[in-house]
Symmetry: C2
Subunit: 448 residues, 2 copies
Amino acid sequence: MQNRILTSETLNKIGEQAILCGWIERVRSHGKIAFFDLRDMTGVLQVVAASPETVASVENLSVQTVVKIEGIIKERGERYSNPIIPLGTVEVEITKPVEIISLASEMPFDMGGNELNLQLPTLLDFRTLTLRNRKIANIFKVQAAILKGFRSAAENLGATEIVVPTISASATEGGAEVFPVNYYGYPAYLTQSPQLYKQMMVPVFERVYTIAHAYRAEPSVTTRHLSENTQMDMEVGFVEFPELLDILEQVITDTLKFAQDASKDILHEYQIPEISFGKIPRLKLSEAQEIITKEYGRDVRGEKDMGPQDEVDICSWALKNHGSDLVTITHFPTKKRAFYTMPDPTNPELSLSFDVLFRGVEISSGSQRIHEYQKLMDAITSRGMSPENFKLYLQAFEYGMPQEGGFSFGLERITMHMLNLANVREASLFPRDMERIDERLSILAQKK
Amino acid sequence: MQNRILTSETLNKIGEQAILCGWIERVRSHGKIAFFDLRDMTGVLQVVAASPETVASVENLSVQTVVKIEGIIKERGERYSNPIIPLGTVEVEITKPVEIISLASEMPFDMGGNELNLQLPTLLDFRTLTLRNRKIANIFKVQAAILKGFRSAAENLGATEIVVPTISASATEGGAEVFPVNYYGYPAYLTQSPQLYKQMMVPVFERVYTIAHAYRAEPSVTTRHLSENTQMDMEVGFVEFPELLDILEQVITDTLKFAQDASKDILHEYQIPEISFGKIPRLKLSEAQEIITKEYGRDVRGEKDMGPQDEVDICSWALKNHGSDLVTITHFPTKKRAFYTMPDPTNPELSLSFDVLFRGVEISSGSQRIHEYQKLMDAITSRGMSPENFKLYLQAFEYGMPQEGGFSFGLERITMHMLNLANVREASLFPRDMERIDERLSILAQKK
């Protein structure tokens, strides 16, 4: 837009005439004078109309209308300043009537406040409106920072970025919860994870990372699951278990630190305390269960996995005793993990697997992998799967594969827990679940 | 791996004892002395065995076997140096027998040369092997650099990275070439592009970018099309046509410059000349056709689109007359472009659309979009589509949308043409097409 300046630039242009563009957020008319907030990509600025002509151009404008304004940038008097908000010390007094670029229809709900007071279905039914709320938009500024932090952490370790496909010819990890695709008349599926492809790239680049969509046809609606989610995956060759955990913990720490540093104001607005980055405790599942039993009075010894309350308790223990918001749990039962997980040589019932918990919830999991061809074949057949369905994958192991392992972070999960959101759907721009693809499925079905 | 050093580190450790790991590339045994090449993530290094014990551990090793070696890093005598290759002046003489980490089966073809002399089906049937060839692996180093360059270019323009879904409830752009998904029993489709979602995000962040998978059920097999490809998309609010073209050309130039600078050695190996970044000529389709007719003697005036030879010719003209490997073609017929494309107000038969051609082929397309709600409704209904299927999308326009436009780059196409590859499948790690999902579909069908 010719000659347009951004709201953030006004602070350095006091006294100047300027053109700005954006969305109207709130209009307050007092007869001879009217105010509105103008939102653009960099902030929200107060605009004043003080002549009969300019007031008339403003007072009936609907919220979210897109406008172009021209006026003089002024310092607000001390009495009217709001130093708490970024542009609270300046305003623009318009010298011409507001020019309407796109008139908004009347809002279906109040968009005026700092927070939207809406239930989740409404939040999603009107996603293109509710995302315009600055606090909601900021969720995705944090998400973008997490992506950037992860990429930077992976590259610092020498990993190469790869792009992996999402259409596969078999249900890659053996589960039943896959979405079928009609692929030119052949049966195909959406991948449950980039797992097998990233492993195949170890003999090419040794260290790889990818940001990939993953699909799970979970037949239940919970606050933690999405049918389509985003994974940040890494895989590392020539690594054994303890070093793999070092790399894991370095990547998650670097990622969270980067995202936190880039999002200070947003985290403050969400009233989120700083992440505690003490040395991350590493506990075997059985050790974690001993602690929970002893410290929290629930006897969970012998359970095959961590329950939600176990995750909360062990995180609370880690924060109290190690000053760490993160805790690594290892040695889950081999049977509970995917076929490619390496059993612990000292006790094959348990595996060289791990989860990372962050503030009471799992945000990452991974493992040392079986890298020996014959052992991998055995693992596949012993679980009743057919090696025929893993031909290309097995090829990578038949022709020379080093010790290797890797891990995956759930982008939406991390976003959710960095901001303490109640539901993972709030951390996805356009969440897909059992009940919704943008619109509710029941409504979509009626349209057909 | 404890104490392991990388091959690239040997240059600074002459005379030292070191442990290295990697893949065996070639073994040459001469009785009392044997050599092999060791490949790791940073390069390829010559290894020498000169004692009966070490020679015995080496001479029968199969190519691609993964090994751990220990030895002394030595400068090669001048007579034996090969200063052309990065590690050609050093070698490691092993002091212990080679330790086998993973023994490779015998190769199905010769992996020993610098180039693999294989037909495309073999290249893909053995993808986990053929990618280990350094020249082939380097295609994806260039691809990673293109991704990085694009993200950096978009961020420099203030764009926010977004993640958009790939499952949609309708065929988003009105085409028939979509892949159906069984979504919990409801019909759904794989998105043909992130187009509608990135537009919906303009009222939230003004400028957004995304790297997204896009799916086209193209019923033909060409050297240019993939069924699943990767798009680098950007969308910009408060922009009109000429400024949109400025942004487009800046992003593609910055992306290519970044990728070229990061890949100098690889481009040299592929014998690719430097990209000519003269001022990019902008031609209306009709102007390009006039030039082709006049300069190349083929009368293409009045055609609705550019044919492959037209693209070659106009690029050749642009290089000769403007010193530019890029050329922007605008004003394609409105009917040939998607419904959201803005018609030229001065002649609605033509549209404010564009393609960018690079060295004879289209690598990007985009347009100014219709941002007025009623005009967009009219465009949808006039093409026989139902506004009901675009409810969430239309919401974004009903409630205030500025002038906006955007563009998309095909990642695999750009990779292909930066390296002058013959087929776009060579620029995809695991290409999907009408005949293949990793394995050939005919073979997959027999397995079921």
